[in-house]
């Protein structure tokens, strides 16, 4: 997981898997950002090949916490596996999803 800031937006690039070992790491990162009042976030999934239910849960928790602080969360570059999981779980109606980070930033 890597975080960079571009014009006040924090881009969190997830690594190959967003699963049980990393889900809490993502939630913790969001908590830290919110505490510092950084509430505009893009989750970059372009390197992520595998998401499981704990990954979906961490994304929902992150979105909730950012919205509660009047921020927003965009998801960029999900793989076919991620996209089909979001659709199956109807999360595609809840997440703002973009093809890549540039589109999410635009």
């Amino acid at each position: 997981m890597q975080i960079v800031e571009v014009n006040g937006v924090h881009i969190i690039a997830m690594s190959e898997r967003l699963d049980v070992p990393v889900a809490p790491v993502l939630r913790e990162a969001i908590k830290n950002l919110v505490e510092q009042n950084y509430t505009r976030v893009i989750i970059d999934l372009s390197k992520t090949k595998f998401i499981d239910s704990s990954g979906c849960g961490a994304l929902v928790a992150s979105l909730r916490s950012l919205i509660r602080s009047k921020g927003d969360m965009k998801i960029a570059g999900p793989s076919p596996q991620a996209k089909s999981l979001f659709e199956l779980t109807r999360l595609h109606r809840v997440f703002e999803i973009y093809g890549n980070v540039d589109q999410a930033l635009a």
């Binding site: 595998f50 704990s54 199956l88 109807r90």
Partner: protein
Amino acid sequence: MNYPKIVKIETQADQHFLRPLNSLVRALLLLAPGLGKQTAVVNDLELAFNEAYANIVEHAYGATNKGPIIIEITLSEEAVEFKFEDFGKEFDYSLVPEPNFERPANGGLGVWLIRRFMDECVYSRENGKKNVLRLIKKIPAADL
């Protein structure tokens, strides 16, 4: 090659093993007859495996209780079966409610996904101490 092919694995219940086990399962599935080119089906099976193992670690055993998870993977020309055995809490999978899709939550999708991706999901409690979960998926005909 001769089918069915069977792999048995035993680990302590520990999320540490999730990714290595997933690697094994994925590589096995990609070699199964009829699955090599069906990446979407392999993804679904890997996810179901992942959810079942993770749930046993987290819910059947939990943070304080420790014990083994015994896995048997059977690949035949028609189907894939994952069998999980553990000695944790008894649990009735059929009581898990459908997720409320109108109100997304931080969890509660795992069992639903397992059911959704597998054709059969059979749970039994044996000898008052062993949980046995059998997940079976028929290998779909590949669209050519």
